[in-house]
Structures are given as structure tokens and as C-alpha cells.
Point group: C2
Chain length 99, copies 2
DNA sequence: TAGCTAAATAGGAAAATATCTAAATGCAAG
DNA sequence: CTTGCATTTAGATATTTTCCTATTTAGCTA
């Protein structure tokens, strides 16, 4: 589900915001034009994908980034492609002339 | 568009197949239960996202992986999160007793 | 408890996606 | 130039996603 979760600009922006520090839903919502229920919904999707965790802080809900899915599964997906890219670079002949 | 392009299991599987070597649409389609027009559509989306390139080979169309978007923009997106994960690991106190 | 605030849920409308079948296009080879 | 194969485009439908407003839940504070 992580790829679907990331396939939304608002959600990627939310993650980026949380990079700095955990935030309440309201704090997050302040950075968006979207209504708060929509933010809440996006957070639920991110949570389901394991990209954030939530914690009750009095009457606030504090959302924090969780990097495990990004540094694990997503990185694992990406690795073979990077690998191949490296192979291509390595195989590229050195040029002496222009270009 | 790259994130949307990746938010589909068939499309991710197609990319994975192309990791081995360039393939025609028919060859790709052989690995799926999906009808060929659907595969063609997925390939168009991948192409628009810059994840594959196409080349006419006689009456066949040869599709090949392009890793630039993965090793560039996607990697750039991912990097700060990996960075933070590393920071968290570094800051974690050594434990002597139980948790 | 009553009133206030934060957040989540419900319900619904609009837009985007996925996938199929059928038809069109493009190339190749007799 | 006609026939055949590979691929794409069209058209249609079902599903999913997104985002809103209104309502509900939960906790704080007087």
C-alpha cells in the first residue's frame, strides 16, 4: 500500500512536513488549503501504509513520521534499478573526442 | 507523475520484467493475465512518466527500462527520509539493561 | 455538567483509473 | 495490393479516489 500512499502530492507534502518534527493534525492542516477532515483522511491512509504513527497527546493527536517502510520495502524496490543504472554507467565507454 | 505510475502492481511488475532486457509488448503481455490493450495502456503511462522508452523494431515495438527517474527524482525524494532514519539510529542510546 | 476545541466519521458528488471488447493503424511479406 | 500479425486507439462500464459539508466522538476547562 505504500506506493498508493505516496501517489498523492498532499500526502507526500505531509510526510515532508513531518520530517522536521511530529505535529498535530491542526498544525499540519495549517499548511494546506484542504479542509481538516481531508487531512485526517490522508493521515489515516499514511498510517495504514505504516508511514506515520499517531499518539494521543491530551485532546490533540500527534502524528510522527515512521521511516521503516521507506528505508525498507521502498528502498528494496528501488535498489535493483539503481544497480542496473550503475552497471550502465560502468559499461559506458570513455570518450576522447567531443560530446 | 512517477509516483502515480508506480502506484500500480502491474506497472511495477512490468518494470521489473524490463530489468532483464528490453521486450516487445507481446512478450511482456505473456507474463500477465491482462488483455494486451491494457498492457499497452500501462506502458503508455510508464512512458509518460519517463520510466520506459519505446523503439520501433520492424512491426514490433520494443520497450526498454529507463532508470533516470528512479535514480534521480525518486531517489531524491527518498534521501531525506533515509537521512533522518540514519540520524535516529545514531542518536539511539546504547542499552545496558532490559528495554 | 456545560461549553469549547480537536479530530474522526458519515454521506455524497465529481473526477480519475482500470480493464474489457471491438475497431483502427502500421508494417511486412507473399 | 491484399492478407496477416503486433500494437494502439475508441468506447463503455465498474471501481476507486478525492474532497467537500455536516455530524459525531473525545477530551479539556470552568
Amino acid at each position: 500500500m505504500i506506493f498508493k500512499a505516496l501517489a498523492s502530492e498532499p500526502r507526500r507534502r505531509i510526510l515532508h512536513h513531518l520530517l522536521a518534527e511530529p505535529m498535530t493534525v491542526g498544525e499540519i492542516a495549517d499548511n494546506f488549503e484542504m479542509a481538516m477532515p481531508s487531512i485526517s483522511r490522508h493521515l489515516a491512509i499514511l498510517k495504514q501504509a505504516g508511514l506515520v504513527r499517531e499518539r494521543k497527546r491530551g485532546q490533540y493527536m500527534l502524528y510522527a513520521l515512521v521511516t521503516d517502510q521507506l528505508t525498507g520495502p521502498l528502498y528494496d524496490f528501488l535498489a535493483p534499478f539503481c544497480e542496473q543504472a550503475r552497471a550502465i554507467v560502468a559499461a559506458r565507454p570513455r570518450r576522447r573526442g567531443r560530446d
